[in-house]
Point group: C2
Chain length 308, copies 2
Amino acid sequence: MFKRLCLIGIGLIGSSIALRARQEGLAETIVVSTRRQETLDRAKARNLGDVYTDKVSEAVQGADCVILCTPVGSFASLGERIGPHLADGCIVTDVGSVKRSVVKQLKPHLPKNVHLVPGHPIAGTEYSGPDAGFATLFDERWCLLTPEQGTDKQAVEKLTSFWQGLGSWVEVMEPDHHDMVLAVTSHIPHLIAYNIVGTASELEEVTQSEVVKFSASGFRDFTRIAASDPVMWRDVFLHNKDAVIEMLGRFSEDLSRLQRAVRNGDGDLLFEHFTKTRDIRRGIIEAGQETDLPNFGRDVVVDTESNS
Amino acid sequence: MFKRLCLIGIGLIGSSIALRARQEGLAETIVVSTRRQETLDRAKARNLGDVYTDKVSEAVQGADCVILCTPVGSFASLGERIGPHLADGCIVTDVGSVKRSVVKQLKPHLPKNVHLVPGHPIAGTEYSGPDAGFATLFDERWCLLTPEQGTDKQAVEKLTSFWQGLGSWVEVMEPDHHDMVLAVTSHIPHLIAYNIVGTASELEEVTQSEVVKFSASGFRDFTRIAASDPVMWRDVFLHNKDAVIEMLGRFSEDLSRLQRAVRNGDGDLLFEHFTKTRDIRRGIIEAGQETDLPNFGRDVVVDTESNS
């Protein structure tokens, strides 16, 4: 599909792309570029690419597809450095969790005959780095592409096929709408999880050891996403400020309503709210985006006694 | 251990106690009592007890241990109905998620020679009902007992051994402290999860279908606990109002701080906060209360390619 695929950044997402692209034969040559020698060594050890370099300007030369897999805060600087070295007809894309900012950061630096098609695979884990990737990460997960109007159709189609080859379902979306949707489904959940884990670990009345021991009562679920990569998430919030603050406002308004219900002992309101929220999980399970095993299946035990 | 164990309520927790108690031979006779005939029939079909009745006053007669496994809002009424029928020396306990209110609701109704030892196993899933229980639910999970000062030591010891027999680790705690700890580790996480799932499903700008499709970006984690039993959770909030409102205040203060950092573009504050929260998950994994598999192990795939 691509002759020379260049991955800039080789963390969880970059390494997963590399593994699957190689498995499926989606690129003749895979160029891996990353700043830190240690990361490059790990990528080599896992045999993620064919060419390895810490120089991005060299990495992109002759590539027909360049994928930025670094935190989104690095894109303006990367664009500036790779822009002059991009080949005619090259597709430049990324895997960042915000999209309006990506266009804004990259566009000024790209030559005319290069196709910018920002992308965002909705897949990941709480682990990061080149050892965290695995080839099936994108299977049956959505990848959103947010090309601007007027973008070369063939470039969008080619990138669509590429992501389908990685196992994804692909949808095209406006960057602003993307940023609003992801603020709700991802950015606010992460901010809230980071927040409550912070709150819990700084209490005077409750020791950290108690929080840890009794976490199976609900708290531990939040610690997973609060263990996500700090640099990546810092950049997400800095680059999707407006949508995050807008959605955080809605969240806080709604929380005030529940808080008032607790204060006033309004059991009917609580019951009604808690009943409605059950349906949406059912929808997510039916859409193939979640397991229906209790506790995410994390303590699945074959229990013959209870199944008899 | 017990001659006649009476379980009032046979949902997720009650049925799990029944299965494990029978497996370990912790009770000669298990009496199952529940209000709804349909639930009683399911309990019979799963062979959870030896005696089944919808009359609690009959159920408790002759029992040396009675465990209330119904939502905590029912305890005052249950106490009133069972009080006159309890045998001398009987241990009365429960599995409710709040503890001060349990003492307050039950104590006035219990005769002198009965031992009240409130309990709370820190274990569960998002499923409810007699079919949701399984014998290993309590394995390596903590169970908190909150007897008042002056409670018969032998009763506390016996109940401790019983929970250990079910697979739990046991700790004794003051009821007020319990309610504060659980507000943080459980009640606030649930309220927040219920809240954000509500917020997301009521937006005009983002369709419910988008929330479902792109939920793998973080949101789906929250839907699990927001799918928990609505009656149980309504009662938890009504019966732990003070601690919940206190801890919600801390949560909101902390969230305002993060919100301000997003608004001001304070990347250092965000990075620092997001770094600290990683440690607590590590602690929970090391304490045996969580899996270290990515995404809770829910999409574990044996990937020989990437492990080579």
